[in-house]
């Protein structure tokens, strides 16, 4: 459902992403891990069509983000890093705007908005302006915007960052509910969440993939068998190799 082919991006002199390729099937929740500045967000922004890759391509549900951007974007739900939203709108207003922008038929917009509000559990804050919401609710409004049109591929950039444990559990539960029907790519640097949320994990460092496997397989790459030391080892090693 998601086919990433050799994506590359250079900013000025910095090679942010250097040939990232992988494929993602329906029913997979892929954890996209890596230290800050490893190229996670840049890769996600290229897949979302926000940033043009220097070379390479991403096929979303078979449609190329380079050749056929709008069709590819239509098959994608994207939660950008930090969940940017229009602060002057209420969640239903924002979702109605998204529904119109997503070209959901006028008669079905109300249903789609109500379903997304119920799925993201944000009905209690429907009357408030987004600008006055807590971080957790903002994330969930962003998530509601991403799942509004029921896309086959979801791209979530740090969906649980800055949430309290209860909010994290709620987001994880939502992702687990949607998982069987979709291909989901989640970037995170909170490693403890990976086994609970993801069926597969990719570690990137300095714009390259350094490991790919189930969370268990990754954890076995370290001496003490934890994901955290595996992560440190993989990303440190890459750093050592580069020098």
């Amino acid at each position: 459902m998601l086919d990433i082919r050799n994506l590359e991006k250079t900013f000025n002199a910095k090679r942010a992403v250097q040939g990232v390729s992988f494929t993602l099937e329906k029913g997979t929740v892929l954890g996209f891990l890596g230290p800050n500045g490893a190229g996670k967000s840049t890769t996600m922004r290229m897949i979302a069509g926000v940033l043009e890759p220097d070379s390479g391509d991403a096929l979303i549900d078979g449609k190329s983000i380079v050749e056929n951007r709008r069709a590819a974007q239509a098959a994608l739900g994207y939660l950008p890093e930090g969940a940017p939203l229009y602060d002057d709108m209420t969640p239903p207003e924002f979702l109605t705007f998204m529904a119109a922008a997503r070209k959901i038929e006028r008669g079905q917009r109300k249903d789609a908005v109500e379903r997304a509000i119920a799925d993201a559990r944000i009905n209690t804050v429907s009357g408030q302006k987004i600008g006055s919401l807590s971080k957790g609710y903002r994330r969930r409004v962003g998530l509601a915007g991403a799942i509004l049109h029921d896309p086959p591929v979801l791209l979530l950039d740090e969906p649980t960052d800055g949430l309290d444990p209860n909010q994290k559990r709620a987001v994880r539960a939502l992702i687990a509910r949607m998982a069987p029907q979709k291909a989901i790519l989640i970037s995170t640097h909170t490693l403890t969440e990976v086994p609970a949320m993801c069926t597969r994990a990719i570690v990137v460092d300095r714009g390259r993939i350094v490991a790919d496997g189930t969370p268990d397989e990754l954890a076995r790459k370290s001496e003490d068998g934890t994901l955290e030391s595996a992560f440190t080892r993989l990303t440190d090693q890459a750093e050592a190799n580069a020098e």
Binding site: L51, L85, D88, M89
Partner: protein
């Protein structure tokens, strides 16, 4: 037809979103109040509306370019700069929308607020009709050309707003550009240009001035040339706007 639908797809959604953003915050109300106040002060005090002794709105319309020059960049400055500073441009660019639809949706929302401002000057029109018998067809025509001119000023502000994440920077640069296109028709500027570069150059400069283009309409004369100028000018800056906003995708 399909291409057109594809490119303009986001127009309706963007237009409604931007228009509601103007009225969800005090922005539109403050703009309308101060704009109307300034227009009133200039017409009655500086323009000496009552002392002209004729029942027309020439002392009212003569201030339009100058007030637009300051006020319309203030209305347009948030259109793109605000998206960038709030990070919502990322969300917008991830939607399956064409750039022309986004640019025109935003521009038309600001244009609508400006149109509301013009409509709210109706007491001026009632006053001249009360005082005498003005040529109402001519007044309507001047209003319409003024609205076209407002679109031209807004297109500068919107395009410049796509270049920066700072609304203040966008405002200042837009006012400078708007000033250049307004003042180009000022007699002082034109006589200086004439002395320096000769009458042909002065003529050319005057062609690109909003003051010159608006002159005929102020007298109630419909000039096809002026209408084409304002529409063409707006289209030109809208294209620049789209190009500058698309630069985001390059990183």
């Amino acid at each position: 037809m399909n291409v057109l639908q594809d490119q303009l797809g986001g127009f309706g959604a963007t237009y409604r979103r931007e228009l509601s953003a103007y009225f969800a915050t005090p922005m539109a109300y403050v703009f309308l109040a101060v704009f109307l106040l300034a227009l009133g002060v200039f017409t009655w005090e500086a323009g000496r509306f009552f002392d002209t002794g004729s029942a027309d709105l020439s002392t009212f319309f003569v201030w339009h370019p100058w007030l637009y020059m300051i006020f319309l960049p203030a209305l347009a400055m948030r259109l793109w700069a605000d998206e960038r500073s709030a990070g919502t441009d990322e969300l917008l660019l991830s939607l399956p929308l064409g750039m022309p639809g986004l640019v025109l949706g935003k521009l038309c929302a600001a244009w609508t607020v400006a149109a509301v401002g013009l409509v709210l000057t109706f007491p001026m029109w009632i006053t001249v009709n009360f005082l005498g018998e003005p040529d109402n067809a001519a007044i309507l025509l001047t209003y319409l050309v003024s609205l076209l001119m407002a679109g031209a000023y807004l297109s500068i502000g919107s395009a410049v707003s796509a270049l920066t994440g700072s609304q203040v920077t966008a405002f200042v640069i837009s006012v400078v550009i708007a000033f250049a296109f307004t003042a180009a028709g000022w007699p002082i500027v034109l006589s200086t240009v004439k002395n320096l570069f000769g009458p042909a150059t002065a003529d050319l400069v005057a062609q690109f001035s909003f003051l010159t283009q608006f002159e005929g309409a102020q007298r109630g004369v419909l000039e096809f040339r002026a209408v084409m100028f304002f529409l063409g000018f707006t289209a030109f800056w809208a294209v620049l706007n789209g190009l500058w906003a698309s630069r985001q995708r390059l990183g």
